[in-house]
């Protein structure tokens, strides 16, 4: 069964083939070895970052414009928040990006203080598949009960009492959640933990949780696909995704008792309340009266002390300038890509954080 092209083709071809093989193998070995050599680019012409996938469309647009304006290229790999945190911990990037702030454990692993610079506000919406796409109104306790599996049908009194006049079918609810670990899940489960003690004790909050019921879809598109395919399904996706794909989204009762539809304005409003100086805060279930309750910052993470792993002052300056640009001029890009911009107060606090970065213990000079 074995083929033998060389024997038939003669000695000449054989030699030729072996020479080519040798060249190829040697080239492959050299290429592998070469990978180690082409490491860090020489300072200020480029910055590297890695992390969250959620703000990736925004970041790539921002960095593209920033390159055009300043000639500094920012290479951002959207490898996930976990990967971004790890890359920053390993000091292989200039900045990391994450949809969840560092836990105390992660902060400790960093070995040095890390600043959380918010860049935009994301919101998570509840979308569903019901005949006629009625607009639904829900509250925290009801959403928690649906995702805990205690509310099983759409015509449950808990849902019906919030939606007088909306015809709700006698249809089982199919819960759809994310199967991959994600910042979206972290925001959504943080909200549920904030509004429902039952949820907090039974499941809790995190990028992946142990879901009591439902099916999992990978990514926003996976969840959206499963919602679209199943009558009676409900799931959560990012506002960006729901807006762009025209999915129905439920209005939620916020902490002031008002039903708020998810939008750029209402999610930005969630950051309108009092904020701590380090901006390391979840703004779910915000106290602001017109806030959509499932909103959250997404952050760029940098070390406060920029002199590490052989970094130059120029690199630190380039990073500082880039972050400043994102918080000022860059903010005007946010809404065109369906990301809420930071309210002025939050942006000011973020700028203060950026300016608190140091190089060798002193403020980075302009």
């Amino acid at each position: 069964m074995r083929e033998a092209p060389f024997e038939e083709a003669g000695m000449r071809t054989h030699r030729w083939a072996s020479a080519v093989t040798v060249v190829l193998v040697v080239a492959a070995v050299l290429a592998l070895a070469g990978c180690g050599l082409t490491g860090q680019p020489s300072a200020v012409k480029s910055l590297t970052g890695a992390g969250a996938t959620f703000p990736y469309p925004l970041y790539s647009k921002m960095f593209d414009l920033y390159d055009g304006a300043t000639g500094v290229r920012v290479n951002y790999s959207s490898i996930g928040s976990g990967g971004g945190i790890k890359a920053l911990t390993d000091k292989t990037v200039d900045f990391g990006a994450s949809d969840a702030f560092l836990t105390d454990e992660e902060q400790a692993a960093m070995g040095a203080p890390v600043l959380h610079i918010p860049t935009c506000i994301g919101a998570v919406v509840l979308s569903y598949n019901l005949e006629g796409k009625p607009s639904l109104r829900l509250d925290g306790a009801t959403v928690a009960a649906i995702f805990l599996g205690t509310i099983k049908k759409w015509n449950d009194p808990g849902i019906a009492s919030l939606n007088p006049g909306v015809p709700l079918p006698d249809l089982p609810i199919t819960v759809v959640h994310r199967s991959d670990g994600s910042g979206t899940t972290s925001i959504f489960t943080s909200y549920l933990s904030a509004v429902s003690p039952d949820w907090k004790s039974a499941v809790g909050a995190g990028k992946s949780v142990s879901w009591p019921v439902g099916i999992g879809g990978k990514g926003n598109d996976g969840v959206a696909g499963m919602i679209a395919q199943n009558k009676g399904a409900i799931g959560y996706v990012e506002l960006v995704y729901a807006e762009q794909s025209g999915m129905p989204a439920a209005s939620l009762r916020n902490s002031s008792g008002a039903f708020i539809a998810p939008s750029l304005a209402s999610s930005a409003a969630a950051a309108g309340g009092a904020l701590p100086d380090d901006l390391r805060v979840m703004i779910v279930d915000s106290l602001a009266p017109d806030a959509y309750p499932i909103s959250a910052f997404t952050w760029i993470l940098v070390y406060r002390e920029q002199q590490y792993a052989g970094r130059t002052l120029q690199q630190a300056q380039a990073l500082r300038d880039m972050l400043t640009w994102i918080l000022t001029e860059g903010q005007s890009i946010n809404e065109s890509l369906y990301y809420a911009r930071l309210p002025q107060a939050a942006a000011t606090k973020a700028l203060t954080l950026v300016n608190s970065m140091t190089y060798g213990g002193t403020t980075i000079p302009r």
Partner: protein
Amino acid sequence: MVARQSRGDRRELVRERVFDAVSLTAAVALVATIVLFLLQLFIASKDSRAAFGLPFLWRSEWNPVTEQFGALPMIVGTLITGFGALLVSTPFALGVAIFLADYANRRIAGPVKSLIGLLGGLPSVIFGLWGLFVLVPLVSRFEVWFGHLVGSEALVSAGTTGVGLLSAILLLAIMILPFSASLILESLIVVPAELREGALALGATKWDTIQNIELPYIRRSTVGALVLALGRALGETMAVTMVIGNGIRMPHSLFDPSNTLASAIANQFLEATSPLYISSLIELGLILFVLAILINVAARVILRRGVET
């Protein structure tokens, strides 16, 4: 033969030596890669092995929030989908191989063979998309029908999504079919012509020949082929993730959402940050790796015996 070495001979000798060295390096690197893989998985899963020990294999809780991890739901999901797919696809694989070896004329066999090759070469995400948009709705309809048939209200109301073990089994069955079919076909082709002709000459019908001569002759290599196909099914990630429902709970029926070792890793690794969580996911990888090695060793043993007899 001339005693004196010509310049050409010496150049040839040097070339031989260089080639020997390079190919030896490549061979050693390959073996080293596998050993290092295993070693790395073992080392990186240290936290998880220390925290949960051997019970990791039969604990059924998987909770990233409380950091309680056990691999049983994934192991069960992996084995059910793998063996289920094998069960479904084997009759078809045998049928296709026998048809191509003994019944089809050349004009049909050629295109069919290349189509099988094509099917085997399709990226699994394409299978996954097809599974999600075509297979899953069909399975969903079957679920409702089956639920009415057996009068199970629970099944009808809870299991109408179509995603779950059954969809994964059917999709995997299709994905491993080209693999096992072409391996079986290869062993059918090498059944000695004398045996086949002898049987026919003795008055055996075509089916007699297949049943009494060919199938017994290829029995071992068929088992080997199936075991290799099983190995492929166990490790399949993308397509399975798209149709299995990704519920990390012990499944109670074939319609339940489930999870496999590979899909759990693919889903969760990217955003896992705590050391114990990462370590537990790596231990899932270790389990899958060991499973794959066991299956491949089994296949080799069976195949070798097949050659000897």
